[in-house]
């Protein structure tokens, strides 16, 4: 992988400075998913498996077109199918390609205790490094999108890499390449935002979808995957896309103030007992002035 393309700006569980911290690149990469033109063909699911070398998993039939209830360690890209009743009573099928959102402020990376198991490249891709992963599952608690999944065989966590290997070589992600309707786009964050806003405007003005808009949640600093939704005020309807995702406050407290409170507490304990010994010393046993009273 090209060093310049995949320079690391954030490292999980890392003591001390990060070599690439503060590096700014003009090109933050971004996937744009236009849910209004998705036909639910699942070509992206197949392309993802093919590129990443996984065989097709057993499907779970749940009275829906959906392949399985949620993404799996070896199934990173899943179209979520949701029946949705419009205000006029008619029913529509909402389809959303679910995968890692590649947050600018990744909750998985914040929660991870293993040095270098999760990194964020300067192009915005959040990538798991399985060689450094200890399989603790903290990222599961840190993620606001329910994405990291555990492989119980290898005891490692997996998720969508945004095809960092392809992107590093100047290619678009496999899912993008496979999309037959052009509902998937890949490019710089600025370009994708621009394209998404243009499409949302078109939907609002020409298709009567007054609530159409772009999903790029600010709670996680924006994401490397953005959606055009028919109704941006109700993202939950698209298979539980959170309205205002953010790193859980428990995780932020745990990895922030709690760390310092705990560390100071432990330091206080060790210093405290040492000071006690220096001030008061050991207890004396009656009749034995030497202080090692109990030695049999």
């Amino acid at each position: 992988m090209g060093q310049a393309t995949l320079q690391i700006v954030k490292i999980s569980g890392h003591a001390g400075p990060v070599p690439g911290a503060g590096v700014e690149r003009a090109e933050q990469v971004c996937k744009l998913v236009d849910t209004t033109t998705c036909i639910g063909c699942k070509a992206c699911e197949v392309a993802c498996l093919e590129w990443n070398g996984y065989t097709f998993s057993e499907t779970v039939f749940d009275n829906s077109y959906q392949t399985m209830p949620e993404t799996a360690w070896n199934y990173w890209n899943l179209i979520k199918f949701n029946e949705h009743e419009r205000e006029d009573g008619s029913v529509t099928l909402l389809m959303r390609k679910d995968q890692c959102m590649h947050c600018a402020e990744p909750g998985c990376l914040a929660a991870c205790p293993a040095d270098g198991a999760i990194v964020q490249y300067s192009n915005g891709i959040v990538d798991f490094q399985q060689a450094n992963c200890i399989g603790c599952g903290y990222c599961v608690s840190g993620c606001p999108f329910n994405i990291p999944k555990f492989n119980s065989g290898t005891k490692k966590m997996f998720k969508c890499t945004l095809c960092s290997d392809r992107v590093g070589e100047g290619l678009e992600p496999a899912c993008i390449k496979s999309c037959p309707t052009g509902c998937l786009h890949f490019g710089t964050k600025d370009d994708m935002k621009d394209l998404a806003e243009t499409r949302a405007k078109q939907l609002r003005e020409n298709f009567g979808l007054e609530k159409a808009g772009v999903y790029d949640p600010p709670g996680v600093g924006g994401t490397g995957v953005i959606y055009v939704l028919h109704d941006v005020t109700n993202p939950e309807a698209y298979g539980g896309l959170p309205k205002d995702p953010h790193i859980p406050w428990v995780v932020r407290f745990w990895k922030g103030p709690a760390k310092w409170i705990g560390n100071l507490g432990m330091l206080f304990g060790v210093v405290g007992v040492t000071m006690h010994y220096l001030r008061f010393g050991p207890k004396q046993v009656d009749g034995q002035k030497d202080g090692d009273g109990g030695q049999p």
Partner: protein, 226 residues
Amino acid sequence: MSTSQVISSTRAGHKDGGRILRYTLHERVHHWLAALTYIYCLITGLAFWSPYMFWLAELVGGGPTARFWHPWFGVGFTISMLWMYKMWRGDMQTTAADLAWKKAIAHYIRNEDEYLPPIGRFNYGQKLFFWLMLYGVILLVLSGFGLWFVESIPWSMRWVRYLAVTVHVASAMATIGAFIIHVYMGTAMVRGGFTSIIRGEVSTAWARTHHRLWYEQVTRQNSAEK
């Protein structure tokens, strides 16, 4: 301390010459099972706690190995603590003597032991430590299962994941505080304590000084036996 009239060398309290059996082999084994499993969990737990202590995982074979064994040692610690509960439950009940001792605890801290009321086999501080570790391990093991099988907690119940993290961290910190004091007192502050939990015996002078009521009880039982 059992009030049974039968005193044998396998029972705490047996008095032989200038020495008294304070901890039976059975008690010592369980203390050290708990100690070693706790210390393993402590080292690996601290490694997961802070990036600045992640190197501790290297001491026990690296991050993945530490992560694999941490919960199993935790289960081992839980079992040894429950066994300890079965073993010491009676000894660890607070008595009237403990309450009097507790009022004078400042003298104990300042090593002014001459002002302390006499106490039985365990003092109030030891009992407090026992109950803190027992309730601590119950919270640790319950929240630990939440962290161990985090994916088994459905997404809709994810508050349980967050609760598990909070409880695990808070109860671990409480036990670490108690553990620091316990190790300090058992090794540096109360000389003879460390030997007693290894070899089981203390001198009569030690017993008279630190646990006078227990000493008197043992002496009484011993003379009754003769």
